[in-house]
Amino acid sequence: MHSRSRHVLFTGNLLLDKPLQGLYSARADQHDLIRDATLSAFENLVAFAVDQPVEAVVFNGRMFVAPPTVRGAALFRDGVETLLEAGVSVYWAGPQEREWQTLSDIRCLPHGLQRIDENHSRRSVINRSEQWERSVVCEWLDMPRDHDHHTNGAHNNGHVHGQTRIGLTRQAIGHLTQGAALHPERDRRFDLIVSGAADRSHTTRSDKTIYHAPGCLQPSDGLAEGPGQVTMLRIDVNGELELLREETSVVRREQRDLLVEPGGTRNNLLELAELELQELAEQLAEGSTQLLQLEWIVRGPVADIKDWSSEELAAELTSLLETTEQGLPVNHHVQLVPLMSGQPIESDEFVNEQLEEQFLQHLGGQLNGETSDDQADRLTLQLGADGIDWRAVFAALPPRETGHRSGEWGVRALQQYKRA
C-alpha cells in the first residue's frame, strides 16, 4: 500500500514480568492469562512487526521493573531473535546498564540488538539506498550536560535534506507547561521526539516537531484505562510522518459511568450497562484483547440506590454479561456512588427520611479533613512493617473511590437497620 514508505515501530515501557494490578474481580481460571499478559503483549508486538513488515523496532522504555527473570529474558531474547531473523533491525534506547549486563550474562542479548545511548547516541535505523532516498536517524536526547555539549554538537546542524531525525528520550512530554520536559531550541531539529516515560499513549505537536509517547505495551497499572499499544511510524519518501497505533495488550481495563435517573430501576441500569458493553465490544472486536476488566461507576440518587450494593450489582452483571457477544470474557467491578438530592438539609435536624442524605453531607465534611498518611502509619504500626507496604497501598488508593465506598457503606448500614 505504501510502497514508497518505510515503517519503524516505537515502543514505550515493556515491563516484562510485571504482574498486572487492580484486577479486583479476576477469576482463578484467568490466572495464566493475567500472569503472561505482558509477555503476550510483547509477542503481539513481535508478530505485528514481522507481519507488517517494518524496517526497525526501537524499544524506548523500561524493559523490566525488577532484575530480569529468566523467563522474561528468554522471551525477550527469542522475540528479538525472531525480529532479527525476519530482517528487522532492533534497537534498545537507553537501557539500564544493570539490565543490559544481566541479559548479557545470561546470554539473552542477541548480537544484532543495538544500543542507542550515551555511547551510541546516533543510529541510522533506515539507510539511504537506490530505492529509498531518505535516511532515518534516531538520536538519544538524555545525554549528560557536558556530553551533550561536546558530542551532540557534532550533529547539531538542524534539519538535513533527505533525512528524518527522531529524538528518543525518557523524559515526560505530557505537559507542555512543564518546561523541563521540553527544550524547544533543541527539539526544533527533530521531526519527531519519542518519549518512553508515559504509561499511556500521548501525542502533541509543537512547531514542526511531533512529541509522542507510545505508552505501555500492556498497562500494568490497575488504574490505567484503555489499550496498551505500540506506535508504528510511517515515513514517506518526502519525509511526511504518520503515527499509527496497534493494540498489543491482552488485558484491557475500561471504566464506564452509569447514571441512574431519579426513579430509575435496577433493570434500567442493567440495560444501560448492556448497551455500553455492546458498544465497547464492537470497538474491541479487532483488537488483541483477551480479557476485559470493566469498572462501572454507578451514580444515582441515594433515595433510588440505597437498597443496592456494589457487590450484588457486580454479581448480577457478571451473571448477565459474563462475556461480550463476541465471546470476550468480561470481569465486572462496580462502585456505587450515592448522590445527594440537592435539597437543603439542616445538619442538626434528624429526619428519618433524610438520614442517608444527612450522612452523605457529614461524610463529605469528614473526608475533606482526612489524610490517609495517619491511617497508613496506624495500619503499619498495627500490622507490622514487614510484609505489605501499607504506605504504598494507601498511596495507591484514590481518595475519591474511598469516599464513594464510605458513602455506600454508610447508606447500606443505615438501610440494614431500617430493613431489620
Binding site: 529468566v70 523467563r71 505489605i388 465506598r405 457503606w409
Partner: protein, 1043 residues
C-alpha cells in the same frame, strides 16, 4: 397528693403519734439519733404501699400488739384518710375513705399512678443509703426518664449503623485481638514472599547451568581440536610411513653406493668391536623381543578386549535405551494391562450390546447420541411425557374415584328409595313435608276434635235440657188453646152478630176473637217457635259438629294411620301426646332422611355434571399423552434408542446405551492406547534392533524389550568391567611400552654405534661390513634402484602437495615407532570420541535444563498471586478506610444527635446539680444508647460517676431524683418527698446550697426533711421553716415508748 397529718397508732418505737405536717412546702423534722425519724419515713412508705414482710421481725412486743396508723392526705380538693394495720396474727388491714366514700386498696394504688413501692423508695422516700444507690436509677422504670431508652427510629438507626460499621471495621482489622482480614492478608503476603524468595533461585540455577553448558561446550571444542590435530598427525604419520620406506631404501642404496668409495677407511679393530656390539645388540634384542612379546600379548589381550569394545560406539545409545527401560517396562506393563482392559472392555461391550437387545452393533451404538444435551432432551421429554401420563392418570384416577363414588351413591340412593318404596323423590318429599304439616296440624285437629266433641256434647246437653225443660206448662198451653178457641168462637160470634146484630158488634166480636186467637198463636208461636229454632239449631250444630268431627277424625286417622274407634278415641291425652310427638319425630326423621336423599340426588347430579367436565379434561389429557408419547418416541428414534412408551425402560436402555457407549469409548480409548503402546514399543523395538543389528547383537527373537534391555544391561556391565580391565591393561601396556622404548633406545644407541662402526667400515651390516670388499658391482644396480625410488617418492609427494617433508624428519622417522604412534593415536582418538560424546550429552542435558528454566513459571505464578493478594489488600484497605470514615461520620452524627436529644430529666437534673454544686458541675448527660452518666465540669472536663467524690455523687443523685419528681409531677403523679439526713456528706457550702435548693423545690412540692443535725435544722429555721423537734422539744405533745 400531699400528707396533712401522720397518725401512728403503733409502729416501731412510736405509739399514738400525731404529727401534723405542712400540706404544702417543706416540713423539717429534727431529732437525735434513734429518735424514730427513719421509722416515720418507713411508716409513710408502709401506708402508701403496704408494710413490708420483714417489718414483723422488728420488736417482739410490737409484733404481739400489731402495727398500724393513719395518714391524712390531700389529693386536690379531696381529703383522704388512709389506715393500715398488721394485727398480732400478721393479718393485714386497709381502710381508706374520703369524705364521701371508701376506697379499696387497689383504688388507692391507682391514685398513686405509676409509682410503685420500689419507685417510691428509690425516688420519693430517701435515706442516705437509698440516695447512694446508683442501681436504683438503672431500673427500666427510672432509666426511661434518665437515659431516654427510646431513642426513636432515627436514633436507633444511627446507633445501629455506627455499631454495624464499627463491627465491619473490626472484621477487617481488630488490633486488640490481632485478627481481621488485613492481618490475614498480611500473613498470606509474607508467606507468599517467602515462597517467592525460594523460587527466585531460578536465576542462579540458570547461571550455573549456563556456566556448565559453556564448560561442556569448551571441553567439546577442545576435544574436537585435539581430535583434528591427532587425525592430522595420524595422516602425516601414515604419509611419512609410506614415504619413509622408499626414502629409506633410497638412503640405503645411496649409502651402499657410498660404501664403495669409503671401503678404504675400514677400521682396524672393526671385527672385535663388531663382535662386542653384536653381543650387546643380541642381548638388547632379546630383551626387546621379550618386551615386544609381552607387548604383543598385552596388545592381543587389548585387542581381545576390543572385541567387546564394539559396544563402545553404541554404549551411549544403549545406555539411553536402558535409561528408557523403566519406561519400556512401564509401557509393556501398561500395554499388557491395557490389552487386558481392552479385551475385557470388548467383552463387556459385547455383553452390553447383547443386553441392549438384538440388532445392536458398535456402529449402531456409535449412532446413539449420549451427550448431556441428548440426556437433557430425553429427561425433558420423559418428564413431559410422564407429566402428561401422571396428569392423565391422576385425572383418570380422580375421575374414576368420582365416578365410583357417584355410582355407589346412586346405587345406595336407589336402594334406599326402593326400600322406602319411593318412585319419585320429589313427591315423597312433598308427601313427607305434607305429612309433617299434617302432624303439626294433628294437635290442632285433636283440639278441634275435642272442641267438636265438646260442642256436640254441649249441644246435646242443651238439646236435652231444652227437651227436658223448655216446653210451656200445661195450664199455659191450655190457656192459649182456650184463647184460640175463644177467639174462634168470637170470630164466629162476630160473624153471627154482624149478620144478626150489626156489623159493628160482629166486628167487635170478630176482632176480639181474632185478638184472642192471635194472642194464643202469638204466645204459642213465641214460646214454641223459639224452642224449635233452638232445638233445630242445636241439632244442626250437633250435626255440623259431628260432620266436622268426623272430618277431623278422618284427618286424624289419615295422619295417624289408625282408624278411629271408640277405644282410640278415648285414649288418654297423655298417650295421644306421646303418640303425636312420636309421629312428629318419625315424620321429621323421614323428612330429614328424604331431604338427605334429595341432597344426595342433587349431589349425584352435580357430580354427573362434574364428571362430564372431567371427561372433557380427560380427553385433553389423553391428547397430551398422545402428543407426549409421539414426541417421546420421536426423540427415542432420533437418539437411536429403541422405541418404547415406558420411560423407565427407555431410561434403562439409555443407561445401558450410555454405559455401553462409555464402555465403547473406554474400549476405543483402550484400543487406541494399545495401538499407541504397540507403536511406541515397535518403534522402540525397531530402534533397539537397529542398534542390535549395527552391533551384531543378538536380536530380540520374540523376547520382550525389557528382557532384551536387561540382557543389554548385562552386556553393558560386562563392557564396563572389560573397559576397566582394558584401561588397566592399557596402563600396563604404556608402562611396558616405556620400558620397551628405553630398550629400543638402548638398542638404537647400540645399533647407532654399530652403524657408526659399519659406516666407518663403509658397511651397513656386519656381513656387509665383512663383504664390503667385493661388492662394487652392486653399485650399478643400486643406482637403477635409486632412480625408481626417486620416481616413487616424486609420485608420493604429488599426492600430498600441502605436506612438506624435510629430510630431517625422514631421518628421524621410525616406521615402527610411527606405527605404534598411529595405533596410540587411534586409541586416543577413540577415547576422545567417547569424551566428545560425553560432552555432547552433558551439553544437551544442560541445554535442556536451560530450556526448562526458561519456561519455569513458578516465580511468575507466585508474583501474580502476590499481586492479586495486593489487589485484595488494596480493596480491603479501601474498605477499612471507608468503614472508618463512615464510622467517624456516624460518630459525629450521633454526637450531634446526642447533644440535640438529651433526656429532659437530665436537663433538669443539670440545673439542680449546678445549684447543688455551686456551679462547679454544669451538666449531666448520658452517652447515646448507653446507661452511663457523664458529668461536665465548668472547666469543660468530663467525669464519669465513678470518678466523683462521695458528696458530689450524692448531690448528683439528689439532683436526678429532684428532676425525676418534677417529671413525674408533670405526668400528674404528685407525691410528697421524704428525705432522711441526706446531707451528711455535704460540706458547709454545699449544705447551704442544698438547703436553698430544697427550699426552692419545696415551693412546688411537699417535702418532709428529717435530720439529726441541729445546725441543719437551724439553717432551715433561719430561713423561716420552723422544724418539728423530736423528741426533746416536743415531748409534751408526743408520746413515745422508746427511743
Amino acid at each position: 397528693m400531699n400528707i396533712t397529718d401522720i397518725k401512728i397508732q403503733r409502729y416501731g418505737v412510736w405509739r399514738d403519734l400525731n404529727l401534723p405536717v405542712h400540706p404544702r412546702g417543706l416540713t423539717v423534722i429534727h431529732g437525735p439519733n434513734e429518735a424514730g425519724k427513719s421509722t416515720i419515713m418507713r411508716f409513710v412508705r408502709g401506708i402508701f404501699h403496704g408494710f413490708p414482710e420483714q417489718s414483723r421481725a422488728h420488736g417482739s412486743l410490737a409484733q404481739r400488739a400489731g402495727w398500724g396508723g393513719t395518714l391524712e392526705l390531700k389529693d386536690g380538693d379531696e381529703t383522704l384518710e388512709v389506715w393500715r394495720r398488721i394485727d398480732e396474727q400478721g393479718k393485714r388491714q386497709f381502710h381508706c375513705h374520703t369524705e364521701q366514700h371508701s376506697l379499696s386498696e387497689a383504688e388507692f394504688a391507682a391514685r398513686l399512678g405509676r409509682v410503685d413501692a420500689n419507685l417510691f423508695r428509690s425516688i420519693y422516700s430517701l435515706g442516705l443509703k437509698e440516695l447512694r444507690e446508683l442501681s436504683s436509677l438503672q431500673s427500666d422504670q427510672v432509666s426511661e426518664y434518665i437515659y431516654g431508652t427510646s431513642l426513636g427510629l432515627v436514633g436507633q438507626r444511627l446507633m445501629n449503623a455506627e455499631a454495624g460499621t464499627r463491627k465491619r471495621s473490626r472484621e477487617l482489622l481488630n488490633p486488640e485481638k490481632r485478627t481481621g482480614r488485613l492481618f490475614d492478608l498480611s500473613g498470606e503476603y509474607n508467606s507468599l514472599g517467602d515462597a517467592l524468595a525460594r523460587s527466585e533461585r531460578v536465576m542462579s540455577q540458570y547461571r550455573e547451568t549456563l556456566t556448565d553448558a559453556d564448560r561442556w561446550e569448551h571441553s567439546r571444542n577442545d576435544i574436537e581440536v585435539r581430535i583434528e590435530n591427532l587425525e592430522r598427525e595420524r595422516r602425516n604419520l601414515r604419509y611419512m610411513h609410506r614415504v619413509w620406506n622408499p626414502w629409506k631404501r633410497q638412503q640405503e642404496l645411496q649409502r651402499e653406493l657410498l660404501e664403495y668409495d669409503e671401503l678404504l677407511n675400514f677400521p682396524s679393530d672393526g671385527i672385535r668391536q663388531l663382535e662386542l656390539l653384536d653381543r650387546k645388540l643380541e642381548l638388547l634384542r632379546q630383551k626387546r623381543t621379550s618386551q615386544r612379546n609381552e607387548l604383543r600379548q598385552l596388545q592381543k589381550r587389548l585387542k581381545d578386549n576390543r572385541k567387546h569394545y564394539e559396544l563402545r560406539d553404541h554404549a551411549s545409545g544403549i545406555r539411553a535405551l536402558i535409561d528408557l527401560r523403566g519406561l519400556v517396562e512401564t509401557a509393556e506393563r501398561h500395554l499388557a494391562a491395557v490389552s487386558a482392559d481392552a479385551t475385557m472392555l470388548k467383552a463387556e461391550l459385547d455383553e452390553k450390546l447383547e443386553g441392549l437387545g438384538q440388532g445392536w452393533t458398535v456402529q449402531k451404538l456409535e449412532g446413539v447420541d449420549t451427550s448431556p444435551q441428548a440426556h437433557l432432551q430425553l429427561v425433558t421429554a420423559a418428564k413431559n411425557y410422564q407429566n402428561a401420563l401422571s396428569r392423565r392418570a391422576r385425572h383418570r384416577k380422580r375421575y374414576q374415584k368420582l365416578s365410583d363414588t357417584n355410582h355407589n351413591r346412586q346405587t345406595e340412593l336407589q336402594d334406599e328409595l326402593k326400600r322406602r318404596g319411593v318412585t319419585s323423590l320429589d313427591e315423597a318429599l312433598e308427601q313427607a313435608q305434607q305429612r309433617l304439616k299434617d302432624l303439626e296440624q294433628l294437635a290442632q285437629l285433636r283440639i278441634q276434635e275435642s272442641e267438636y266433641a265438646q260442642r256436640i256434647r254441649s249441644a246435646q246437653t242443651m238439646l236435652q235440657k231444652y227437651r227436658e225443660g223448655a216446653e210451656l206448662p200445661w195450664w199455659a198451653s191450655s190457656m192459649l188453646t182456650l184463647f184460640a178457641i175463644a177467639g174462634g168462637f168470637l170470630v164466629i160470634a162476630g160473624l153471627f152478630k154482624g149478620v144478626r146484630t150489626g156489623w159493628l158488634i160482629g166486628l167487635i166480636y170478630m176482632l176480639t176473637g181474632i185478638a184472642g186467637g192471635a194472642l194464643s198463636w202469638a204466645l204459642r208461636q213465641h214460646f214454641e217457635t223459639d224452642d224449635y229454632h233452638v232445638h233445630t239449631k242445636l241439632e244442626q250444630e250437633i250435626r255440623e259438629c259431628e260432620r266436622r268431627l268426623n272430618t277431623v277424625r278422618d284427618d286424624i286417622s289419615r295422619i295417624t294411620g289408625i282408624p278411629y274407634n271408640t277405644h282410640s278415641g278415648i285414649a288418654s291425652e297423655k298417650d295421644r301426646k306421646a303418640s303425636q310427638t312420636e309421629l312428629i319425630q318419625k315424620a321429621t326423621q323421614q323428612l330429614f332422611e328424604l331431604e338427605e336423599l334429595a341432597r344426595t340426588e342433587n349431589r349425584i347430579l352435580k357430580t354427573r355434571k362434574k364428571l362430564s367436565v372431567q371427561r372433557g379434561k380427560l380427553t385433553t389429557y389423553q391428547r397430551e399423552v398422545s402428543m407426549g408419547r409421539q414426541g417421546w418416541c420421536d426423540l427415542l428414534k432420533k437418539l437411536g434408542l429403541k422405541e418404547t412408551v415406558r420411560t423407565s425402560e427407555a431410561f434403562q436402555n439409555w443407561q445401558q446405551a450410555v454405559t455401553a457407549d462409555q464402555t465403547l469409548v473406554k474400549w476405543t480409548a483402550a484400543r487406541e492406547d494399545v495401538q499407541r503402546q504397540n507403536e511406541l514399543l515397535a518403534m522402540f523395538r525397531e530402534q533397539t534392533e537397529q542398534i542390535a543389528r549395527r552391533m551384531d547383537l543378538e536380536p530380540s527373537q520374540g523376547r520382550s524389550l525389557s528382557q532384551m534391555l536387561a540382557q543389554w544391561q548385562q552386556a553393558l556391565d560386562r563392557y564396563e568391567q572389560i573397559r576397566d580391565t582394558y584401561q588397566k591393561q592399557r596402563g600396563q601396556y604404556r608402562d611396558l611400552k616405556k620400558q620397551y622404548e628405553l630398550t629400543r633406545k638402548d638398542l638404537e644407541f647400540a645399533e647407532h654405534e654399530l652403524v657408526e662402526l659399519l659406516e666407518r667400515g663403509h658397511a651397513k651390516t656386519p656381513e656387509q661390513f665383512r663383504r664390503n670388499a667385493g661388492k662394487l658391482q652392486r653399485g650399478r644396480e643400486l643406482r637403477a634402484l635409486l632412480a625408481d625410488i626417486n620416481d616413487q617418492l616424486t609420485s608420493l609427494s604429488r599426492e600430498e602437495p600441502e605436506l612438506a617433508i624435510v629430510e630431517e624428519d625422514l631421518k628421524t622417522f621410525n616406521g615402527q615407532q610411527a606405527q605404534e604412534r598411529i595405533d596410540l593415536i587411534g586409541m586416543e582418538l577413540e577415547d576422545l570420541e567417547r569424551d566428545r560424546e560425553e560432552c555432547s550429552e552433558e551439553l544437551g542435558r544442560a541445554r535442556q535444563r536451560l530450556t526448562a528454566l526458561e519456561s519455569e513459571t513458578a516465580a511468575a505464578d507466585l508474583q501474580t498471586r502476590r499481586e492479586r493478594l495486593l489487589d485484595q489488600a488494596r480493596m480491603t484497605a479501601s474498605d477499612w478506610l471507608a468503614t472508618e470514615a463512615a464510622g467517624r461520620t456516624f460518630s459525629d452524627m450521633t454526637a450531634t444527635f446526642e447533644e440535640r436529644f438529651q433526656p429532659e430529666t437530665l436537663a433538669r437534673a443539670s440545673h439542680y446539680l449546678n445549684e447543688l454544686t455551686l456551679g462547679r458541675y454544669e451538666q449531666v448527660r448520658t452517652p447515646f444508647g448507653s446507661r452511663e452518666l457523664i458529668v461536665h465540669e465548668r472547666s469543660g472536663a468530663t467525669r464519669q460517676v465513678s470518678e466523683l467524690s462521695d458528696g458530689t455523687r450524692e448531690q448528683l443523685f439528689l439532683a436526678i431524683r429532684l428532676a425525676l419528681v418534677d417529671m413525674l409531677a408533670e405526668e400528674q403523679t404528685v407525691l410528697p418527698m421524704v428525705l432522711d439526713d441526706i446531707c451528711v456528706n455535704f460540706d458547709q457550702q454545699r449544705t447551704e446550697a442544698a438547703v436553698s435548693t430544697i427550699l426552692d423545690f419545696a415551693e412546688r412540692r411537699q417535702v418532709l426533711f428529717f435530720t439529726c443535725h441541729e445546725h441543719l435544722a437551724q439553717m432551715f429555721q433561719h430561713r423561716g421553716i420552723e422544724p418539728v423537734w423530736l423528741p426533746k422539744h416536743a415531748e409534751g405533745e408526743l408520746q413515745r415508748l422508746a427511743g
